[in-house]
Symmetry: D2
C-alpha cells in the first residue's frame, strides 16, 4: 500500500437514487455546445497525435475554447437551405515550432474539425454551411512533463484543482445517457430524418420519471407534417422502450413539446442542429466529463474538452475520478452510491493528490469497514496508473462530454 492520502467514508446524504427529486440533462452530440466540446476535444487529440508522430512527445497546447456563432436557415419539407453559415472559432495555444521543425497546428486543427463534423453532423457542408477558423496563439514552449513514444512521466500539479466522479449512474441518468447514444447511434442509422441535435431532460419525482426530448428533424427526409409527426412519434416510442427496459418505475416520454402543428411551429432543420438557426455554443457549457449535467451531484466547473491530457490536472482528475468511481463500483459489491473527489497539491506529482476522498452510500446491510480496504486498493492502483488516462484520452477511449 502506498502512502497516498486516500480516505473512504460514508457520505452524509441519501443515494441520489433514493432522493425525492432528481434532475438529469444531456445535450446530444449535435447540440451547439456539444459541437464545440467535440471539436475542441478532437483538435486536442489531433494535436497530441501530431506531436507524438513528429517529435516523439506531446508539446504544450490547450484548445479548450471553441466558440460557435449560430447561422440562419430556412428549413422546408423535402429540403430547405442554409441562409447564413454557422461560424466556429477555435481558440487556444499550441506550440508551433520545436527544435527548428514547424508544426502545422492551424491546419491540424481545421482538419480535425472537418473530420469530426463529417462524422457527427454529416448534413453540414464544411466551408459553406459551417465556416471554421482557428486562432491558435503560440504556446509557451515545451512541456516539462513528457508523454510520448518513450514513455510518460507523472506531471507535477501546478495548480490547485479538483475533479469529481460518481458511480453508479441512477436509472434516470442511465436512461438519459443511453437514450441519446442510442438515438444518435443505431437509431439514426436507420432514421436519417433524426438530426444529431437531440437534447434530453430527465426528471424523476419519487417513482415517476419524465423524459423530455428535443429532437431536431432533418427536412430533407420528411415530406410533410404527417411524416414529421411520424418521425417524432418514432423517437418517442424508441425512448420509451429503452427507458422501460431500464426501470420498473413509471415513465413518460415527451418529444418536441414546444411544437405547434396548427401554426406550423415545429422543430424542423436543414442540417440537424439548432446551430443553423440562432443557437450559439461554447465549450464547457454543456455536459460534464461523464456525459451528463447532474444538479443533484457535485460537479466541477472545469471544461474537460480540449485541454491537454498530459498535464492539465483539471482534465486528468475529472476523467480519473470518473474512471475510479466506475471501476470501484464494477469490482466491489454493496455500493449504492459513490463519489470520488481528487484535490491536487501544488508542487507534488499528480499521482499523489492532496486528498483522494471516496464517499460511499453502502447498500442496506453492507458495512463499510468490510469493503474499505478493497476500495482503497483500487483507488491506489488507479492513481499509480494516472498516465493511462492521458493515453486513453489521446486514443479517444475516454469521452469528455
Amino acid at each position: 500500500m502506498s502512502e497516498r492520502n486516500i480516505r473512504v467514508e460514508e457520505i452524509d446524504r441519501r443515494a441520489v437514487e433514493d432522493q425525492e427529486v432528481e434532475i438529469v440533462e444531456r445535450k446530444g452530440i449535435g447540440h451547439p455546445d456539444s459541437i464545440c466540446d467535440g471539436i475542441a476535444e478532437s483538435v486536442s487529440r489531433a494535436l497530441s497525435q501530431t506531436y507524438i508522430d513528429r517529435v516523439g512527445k506531446v508539446l504544450h497546447y490547450n484548445t479548450d475554447e471553441t466558440q460557435l456563432v449560430a447561422g440562419t436557415a430556412a428549413p422546408a419539407f423535402g429540403g430547405g437551405e442554409v441562409i447564413e453559415p454557422i461560424y466556429v472559432l477555435i481558440v487556444g495555444r499550441a506550440t508551433k515550432e520545436y527544435e527548428g521543425q514547424k508544426i502545422p497546428v492551424d491546419s491540424v486543427a481545421l482538419e480535425a474539425a472537418r473530420d469530426y463534423l463529417a462524422e457527427h453532423v454529416p448534413e453540414l457542408e464544411f466551408g459553406t454551411d459551417i465556416v471554421v477558423e482557428a486562432r491558435l496563439g503560440e504556446g509557451s514552449g515545451d512541456l516539462q512533463e513528457v508523454f510520448g513514444e518513450d514513455g510518460a512521466t507523472v506531471p507535477m500539479a501546478n495548480d490547485t484543482s479538483f475533479g469529481v466522479g460518481h458511480a453508479p449512474l441512477t436509472e434516470t441518468e442511465r436512461i438519459v445517457l443511453d437514450a441519446e447514444r442510442s438515438l444518435n447511434g443505431e437509431y439514426a442509422d436507420e432514421h436519417p430524418e433524426l438530426g444529431p441535435d437531440v437534447k434530453l431532460m430527465g426528471k424523476r419525482e419519487g417513482d415517476h420519471i419524465d423524459i423530455t426530448v428535443a429532437a431536431a428533424i432533418v427536412d430533407n427526409y420528411v415530406d410533410g407534417m404527417d411524416e414529421y409527426d411520424e418521425a417524432v412519434q418514432s423517437v418517442r416510442q424508441h425512448v420509451t422502450d429503452l427507458a422501460e427496459s431500464y426501470t420498473d418505475r413509471s415513465v413518460s416520454v415527451m418529444v418536441n413539446t414546444a411544437d405547434d402543428y396548427e401554426d406550423g411551429s415545429i422543430y424542423l432543420t436543414t442540417t440537424g442542429t439548432s446551430a443553423e438557426q440562432g443557437d450559439d455554443g461554447s465549450v464547457g457549457r454543456g455536459n460534464r466529463a461523464n456525459g451528463l449535467i447532474t444538479p443533484n451531484r457535485s460537479m466541477s466547473m472545469e471544461a474537460t474538452s480540449g485541454k491537454n491530457p498530459v498535464n492539465h490536472i483539471g482534465k486528468i482528475y475529472n476523467l480519473l475520478s470518473t474512471d475510479i468511481a466506475e471501476t470501484v463500483v464494477a469490482e466491489v459489491d454493496g455500493l449504492r452510491d459513490l463519489r470520488v473527489r481528487l484535490l491536487s497539491q501544488i508542487g507534488r506529482p499528480i499521482d499523489q493528490p492532496h486528498v483522494a476522498d471516496v464517499h460511499v452510500v453502502p447498500e442496506d446491510g453492507v458495512d463499510l469497514a468490510d469493503i474499505e480496504a478493497e476500495v482503497t486498493g483500487i483507488v491506489d492502483r488507479e492513481l499509480a496508473n494516472v498516465t493511462d488516462i492521458t493515453r486513453r484520452a489521446i486514443d479517444g477511449e475516454l469521452t469528455t462530454f
Copy 2:
C-alpha cells in the same frame, strides 16, 4: 398564502460549514472568464435599457456567449507593452428592427463593452490593446413577455430549467468573495500596482483555512524585484487581515506561489490581466451567479451573464433562488445552512414553479416546524415579485458572476 408548490424540509447532509473539507474559488473581475461575463452582462443591460428607452419595452435578445482570445505582451519593470492585442468576440442575437425603427444593437454592444472595460480593466486601451467585435444575429422578433415602462408581465416557462441558491455563506466563502472585492475595490484604489486579475482559491480542512491568491501585478507601477515583492507581501497582508477578521480559525495566505524570483518568473503584467498573455476566456466558465465556485454545493451549469432577464428562466431562477436564500437567512433566525432550488414547469408562469424546495440545516436546538411557515411566506412573497429580479438585473443591482 398562494398555491405555489413550496416545500421546506431538512437537508440530509451537514452544513457546509461543518463538513471536513471545503473548497471555494473566485475568479476576480479581471480574470479572462470574468471579463467575458462582465462584458456579456453589461451588453445585456445596455440592450435592455436601449429597448426600454426606444420602444418602451425589452425586445428579444440573448448575449451570453462572449469569447476572449488572449493576446501577447512583454511586461517589464517600469512599463512594458502589448505585442498582440486581445481579441473579444461578442456573440448573440438581438432584435434589430421594431415597427420600422432600427435599433443599433451592434453599436450599443460595443459601447457597453468599451465602457465596462474602461471602468474595470482600465489599463487596457480599447481598440488597440483589446479589439472587440460583435456578431449579433437577428433575434426572433418580439418577446411575448413584456417588461418596460408600462409594467411587467410574468413570463411563461418555455423550458425545463433549474436555479439554485445558498445562504448563508461559510466563513471560507465570505473570505474568498470579500477579499476579491476588497482587493479590486478600496485596496486597488490605493495600490495601482495591483491589477484586476486576482484569483482566489480557499481550501478549508477542519479548522484551518488556506487562501491561495494569484494576483497580476502591473509593471508600470513597480520598478524592480523589490517593489514587486513588496506589492505581493502587501496583498498577502491585506488578505490575511481581512480573513482573520472573519474567522477564529487559523488562516494561511499565499500569494503568487508559482513565482520564482531566481529565474525571474513572476506574475508581472502590462495591463493587469492574464488575458494579455495566453489566457483565453469565455462566458459561464467561471463564477456562478453568487460570485463563487463551490464544489461542495449544488451548482447550476447555466451561464447567467448576458442572458435576457425578462424571460430567460435559467437566469431568473438562479438570481431569484440566491436572493430568496439570502432573504430567508436575513429574516429568519436559527438557520445554519439553506439551499433553495427552483424548477420550472413548461407552460406555466414562472412565479408558479413546478417546485420550489427549500432544504435547511437548522441550528442546534432549532425545530424546523417552528420556522417553516415563516420561510414559506418569504419564498411565496419573493416568487410573487419575480419581475423585480428583471428590473434589478437591468439596473445592475444584481451581480451575475
Copy 3:
C-alpha cells in the same frame, strides 16, 4: 444611323506595336490578386443567376472587394504542407430578401468561391488550406433596371464613368496573354507540376522581346532539384515555342530568375500559389478587363470583377469598349491600332454615352475617311445591344481579368 455621339478620329501617337519600348504584364489565374478577381466574379455570376432563378430578375448587389490574406506553407520535394491557411474575406452588398423570400446570398457566395477554387486552384483544400468568409451587407433593395427572364432594360447612368478598350493586341500582348492561358490550360493538364500561379512580364525594346515568367512549381510532383529544373526548363521551352510562333522578332524567355539552386532558394509551393506563403491579394489590383496590364495604353482604374453587370457602368463600359474594339478590328481592314473610350452621361441611358470616341492608327496607305462610316456603324450597333454585355457576363462568356 442613331444619334449617338460617336466620334472616329486618328490618334496623335504611333501604334503601340511601333513604339520603341513596350511593357506588358499578366498575373496568371493562380496569382493572389487573380484569385480574388476570380472569386469576386464567380460570386457575382452566381448571385445574378440565383436572383434570376428565384425572382426572375437580377437584384441589387456588388461584390467587388475580395481580400486574401496569405498563409504559411512548408513546401518540400515530394510533398510539403500548409502550415497556416490562407484566409479570404468576400466583401460586398447583396439583397437578402425580396417580396418575403429570403435569398441565401452568403451560402451562394461561399459555394461559388468553393467551386471556383476547386476548378482553378485544385491543390487548395477548401476549408482547411483556405478559409473563406463572406461579409455581405444588405443591398439597398431593388434595382431600378431590370434584367431577367422577361427581358432587359437599358439602365440609366447614375455616375460619370469611363471605359476603355483596345485592339488589336500587339505581338507582345498576345504572347503574354496566350502563354499564360496555354500554360494554365493544355500545358498544365499534362504537367501537374506547374501550379496556376504563373506571372508573365513581357518587355519589348525595338525588335527584341523579353518574356519573364514566374512559375509556381507544385512540390508533390517533383522529387528533387533535377526534376524541378526540368519543370522550369519545360515551361521555358513551351513559352519560347509559343512566342516564336507569334512573332518574327527575337525572343528571350526567362523562368524563375530569382531562383538560386545553390542555396536552395527556388519557387517551390505546396498548393501552386504564392498565396500560401506571404503574398496577399485583392480585387482590382491586377489585370484589367482585357486580361493584361498595359502601361503603354490608357487604362481604367475601375475593378471590373465582382461588379453587378446589370447596372454598373464602369464594368459595362470596360467590357463593352473592349468588345467594340475587338469587333471593329475583326470586321474592318486597315487598322493598326484602335482605342475605344466610352464616357457616361449622368441621367441618360447607357446606350447613349456622353461620347464614344474611337481613336485609330490606320495602316500605311489607308485613309480613315474610307472606313469611318463602317466603324461608326459597328459602334452604333454594339451600343444598341449593350444589354448583351450583361447577359454574356452572367453566362461567363466575358472574362474580367
Copy 4:
C-alpha cells in the same frame, strides 16, 4: 555625368492640356478607398519609424492591403447614429522579432490606424463606429538593404517594375486636386458640416470644364433641408471660386447631383464618410501616387500606399518619377508636358534603372536639343539621391494617394 541610361525625347502626342477631352478624378481623404490608402500608408510609416527607433534600421514589412467593409448608419438632421460599425482589416507582413527583441507590430499598426482616423475622419469613434483588426503575418526576415540611423544603401531591383510621373498638372488636374485639399483643409475647419468624403470628377471638353462634386454632409451640423442646401451651395461656391482663380476657361460646378430633395434622398451622413453606409474600400483602388486618377495619362497599377519604402521598387519608382517630373518642370523653362518613366532592371541597383525615359512636349518655339542636357542632369541627380525618397516617405513628406 553618370552612365545611367537616361533618354529624353519628344512624345508623339499633344500635351494633355491641348487634347480635346480630358477626364480627372480625385477621391477625397474620407472616401473608403482613400481611408484604406491612408491607414496603409500610416501603418507603413509607423512600422518604419518603430524599426528605426528600436533596431536602428527598417526591417522587412509590407502593409499594402487594407480592406474596409462598410457599416450601416441612420443619419438624421441634428445627429443620427451608426447602426453597424465599419470593419477594417489591415493585412500584410511584418518582422516580429529581431535578434531576440520582439517588435509589437500589431499594436503599432492599430495605433497608427487609430491616430490617422482621429485626425482625418474625426467623427468616427474608434473601436465602436469603426472596428479595426490587423492580420500581419511574419515577414521573411531581415531586409538585405539597409535604411536607418547609420545611413542608407541603394537596394537592388528584385523585380521588373515600372514607375511613371507627370508634370505639370493641367488646369483641370490642379483644380480637382486643390479643390479637394482646400475643402478638406481650411474650408472644413470653418465648415464642420462638410465631411472628409469628398469626391471630385473633372471633365474638360475643349475650353469648358465641368467639376462634379460628391460631398458627404455631416448630420450633426445641419438641422434641416434648408441648412443642408446651404451647405451644398457653399461647397459649390467655394469650388467655383477656386476653379475660376485657376483658369480662364468656363467652369461649371455641380455638387451632389444625385440628390432629390422632394423624396428626401440626399447625401447626409453621420460620420462624414460613405463607408458608414454600404461603400466598401480597399488600398490601391483609388488615386495614383500623384493624388489623381488620370485616364488621359499613363498610370501604374501598382498600389503605392503601405509598401515598404526602403526596397519596394514599384513604390519608389512611382514616387521618384513624380518627383523628377515636378522638379524638371520647376527648374527648366519651356516644357508644356512631361512624362517620366522608370523601368527597373532585375539585379542592378535601383539608381541604375534599365531605362529612365523622359518624354516631353516642348512649348511652341522651344527646341528640345537646347534643354535636353539640363533635363538629363536633373534626372541623373535625382536618381543618385534615390534614398531620399525613402526618407521623405517615412517622414510623411510624400503623399501616396
